[in-house]
Amino acid sequence: MIYKILLTIWMNLIIAAVFLYIEPAAGFPGEVSRILFFHVPMAWVATLAFLLSMIASSVYLITRKVNADFLAQSSAELGFLFCFLATVTGSIFAKATWGSFWNWDPRQTSIVMLLMIYGAYFVLRSAVADHEKRRVFAGVYSILAFCTVPFLVFIVPRITNSLHPEDTLNPAKPGMDIKTLIFFLGSLCAYTGLFVWMLRLKVRMLRIMDKERGRINFHK
């Protein structure tokens, strides 16, 4: 409970600071660079969620514990949500800096791939009636899909050059001043905390729904 309240306050602080305290970064028109504090954490959470979903799926396939699958499913759904938000915010940024919402930048291509893979993942889940089979298939599919991702890393950069500002706005590089860096990392933490909160809610919800469906437990 405490951490949820702290998170709420922390996020308020970040939002206020990002708009009212931080200076816009050099090299970008107007105030657009402020989106960094929202867009990058969303993309980061999406990556984290998909990775977690993959790992939970593998754990389910090995141990066959339903809880692992609840985690995999919730994580995939939240990952999809954050991935979608990252796409939208990225698009807004693209419009403001390069003049078009969509131009098949490598980043945009790979994010569309991810959305397609997880879209198919949810379709598969809804198409299998038997609950255990559904869990196994979903796990197998997400592992299979994960194996195709490295190819994108090879292929996509060969097709178009990226305009994505990695060098200009990279917290690991000394281009960013210390004030920005602190709030950037703070925002990253806040989003991760938010993700954990939502994830736990979703898992608890799935568990209650599973119970409500009247699943009979033989191992009383």
């Binding site: 791939m113 598969l124 299998v128 089979k133 197998v140 299979l144 195709t148």
Partner: protein, 240 residues
């Protein structure tokens, strides 16, 4: 392995490997296919109809000479991929519909089943490419500067198509909604392969030399990885 007692049924067992069992499944599928032409008809009809539509509406002169290598590669791979997606799930779906899936589960090892079905799907793809690619080249007047590289791209691309879809076919055969599900699930997995294959075919047609045919190598690596991972995962979806 089998307890023996003389005079009862067949007693002799031969040393059998995954490969001999897979070949048995492959031949059986081919034999059934030859008699019913279940999959091959739907794949080829789909491919020919799209090819005719494309050829009729674009013809061989509509597109600028300089644009052809790229645009024709795109069209060719769209035709190939979507006709493959229209029929490659047949071999598993038919097992399910005819009620023979359980008997196959009881008599064959899962890996052998996967390999057998993969070989069958690759055969279908081979037939598809042998018919459609020359027809496409003739109808569209596709000029290819490096035929060797182009053929290699077709072969590895076909391998990748089979490798990426066979496990999905096994899954959708056991799902409730089978029709559109196969394309929906396969397409995201195939996308890296399709992009590579288009790029590679374009390069072969243009005659841009690149050391060592990188796209052919990527497609081959894709096929190898997908087959390996599928072999490992297949028992999970096949048993129970």
């Amino acid at each position: 392995m089998h307890p023996t007692k003389s005079g009862r049924w067949i007693t002799q067992t031969v040393s059998s490997t995954y490969l001999t069992e897979a070949v048995a499944i492959w031949f059986r599928d081919l034999r059934s296919e030859f008699r019913t032409r279940y999959a091959v008809n739907s794949i080829l009809m789909f491919a020919l109809t799209t090819l005719v539509t494309v050829s009729f509406s674009i013809g061989s002169f509509r597109i600028e000479e300089s644009e052809r290598p790229f645009l024709y590669a795109v069209l060719l791979w769209i035709i190939l991929v979507f006709s493959a997606l229209s029929g490659l799930s047949r071999s598993f779906v038919k097992e399910q519909e005819a009620g023979t899936m359980d008997i196959l589960k009881l008599s064959a090892r899962p890996q052998a089943v996967f390999l057998g079905k993969l070989l069958f799907n690759l055969t279908m793809l081979g037939v598809l490419e042998l018919i459609i690619v020359p027809a496409f080249i003739l109808l569209m007047g596709y000029k290819i500067k490096f035929p060797g590289c182009f053929v290699a791209m077709m072969v590895t691309g076909g391998l990748g198509l089979g490798a990426g879809t066979t496990l999905v076919a096994a899954m959708i055969a056991q799902a409730n909604a089978r029709g559109a599900l196969f394309s929906a699930l396969s397409f995201p997995l195939l996308l890296p392969l399709i992009i590579t294959a288009i790029k590679g075919s374009e390069r072969a047609a243009y005659g841009i030399s690149a050391a060592g045919w990188p796209e052919v190598k990527i497609a081959a690596a894709y096929a190898v990885i997908m087959i390996t991972v599928s072999l490992l995962l297949f028992p999970l979806i096949w048993e129970e």
